[in-house]
């Protein structure tokens, strides 16, 4: 009789654990957006692959231009056939529907903004969420009297040679200093220094009260 009690208790405990696990699984809310790449893979991707594209190299049929600026700038002027998905809204339902559709059509998503720096956030976020076919358009957008101007941008231009500049300026200063005529210092006749020993008066420690 006692053994039956023990086994009954074990089975009840086992059933309870299973119930708890099932409830936990069911109540687990799947997060809306899941990364598809970890940081190391993303880093490899951005340091090795070429994800830039110039305006002339776009294949119109195989790609979709996405303007990541806000709606106001987009309405002011945008590239032909571009759609507008502002950066802060890239994780919204509507945007992800559009992006998914582009992904299904196997087209390339080409991001552009005022300058390539602006698109970087959208690019990295989308590529970490699993969109493989994204490129950044290397253009700087500006307006001249309400007309859109595009010019090719260079990513991370080589830095000016600052050391050379500093050396040059030091050289120029040295040359200028040579030209400057230094007035000879007038000889001052100094009287022999008299050494007057000054007795240091030791201050008595201040006694309280004073």
């Amino acid at each position: 009789m006692k053994e039956l009690e023990k086994t009954k208790r074990i089975s009840i405990a086992a059933v309870l654990t299973i119930l708890v696990v099932i409830i936990a699984l069911l109540s687990y809310k799947r997060p809306k957006y899941l990364y598809a790449e970890n940081t190391h893979d993303t880093l490899d991707k951005i340091t090795t692959s070429n994800y830039f594209i110039a305006l002339n190299d776009i294949e119109k049929n195989n790609s979709v231009l996405v303007d990541i600026r806000n709606a106001f700038d987009f309405n002011k002027g945008h590239l032909d056939n571009a759609i507008n998905i502002a950066s802060p809204e890239i994780l919204r339902e509507e945007s992800s529907i559009i992006l998914e559709r582009i992904k299904e059509d196997n087209k390339t998503i080409i991001l552009y903004g005022k300058n390539p720096n602006e698109t970087l956030m959208a690019y990295l976020l989308l590529s970490q969420l699993g969109y493989d076919n994204i490129k950044i358009l290397t253009v700087n957008i500006s307006y001249d009297q309400n007309k859109l101007i595009t010019e090719n941008a260079v990513i991370e231009d080589t830095a000016p040679d600052i050391n050379a500049y500093i050396q040059e300026s030091v050289k120029k200063k040295a040359e200028a200093m040579k030209k400057l005529v230094v007035k000879p210092k007038p000889k001052t006749f100094s009287a022999p220094k008299k050494v007057i020993p000054v007795k240091k008066k030791k201050k008595m420690p201040v006694e309280g009260g004073c």
Binding site: M121, N163, Y165
Partner: protein, 225 residues
Amino acid sequence: MVNRKLVKFLSLRYKILALIFIVLAGGLVLLPKYEKQEGISPEDLLSNSISPERYITTDELADRIINQDPTLLLIDVRDENNYKKYSLTDAINIPLKKILDEDSEPYLNQDEYDVVLFSNDNFYSDQAWILCTRLGYKNLHVLKGGINTWYNTIINPMKPTENMASNQFDLYAFRKAASMYFGVAYPDKIKKKPTIIKRVSTSKAAPKKVIVKKKKKKMPVEGGC
């Protein structure tokens, strides 16, 4: 009849329990997918990246360097050649490829220093910033415009034309003084007596020579006695 079936069922109950546990263990297969979920959520990453808080201008940075802010840590994410050619004072070099290496982590994943990432422009430094922010590192900043803007504003500042606001002239004066701190010499600033200029040598090997002028503190005059 039912009783016998029940008894049979009950006799198999341990095997059934074991089967259920095996099925649940199969759920563990889902775990590898979660390995990719490292770092903060995409929504948080997006909101962190949209805000321009991370940018620090070249003027602010020059100010902090000149005042020898001890909490500043400059990290150059360009490659070694560029770093050796010229870099900001006391900057350490972590090329972008190595930014997620184990050796780089102690520089980035800490809360004592304010880390400022910089490169020629702010493209690569932004990339480094986004990846490190995904991993949850705090106190990271990006130098807006990078070394190119550093050159155009601090080393070789543009003289304001006459029709600009007066604060532009103050800014220009600050920038010119900063450029002298960083080594640029001006021919029209020659005095007959050489002045002690606090200079930081640009070569990495020589130790920093800073002439510290000790300010003599005057003892407060005690009242009474």
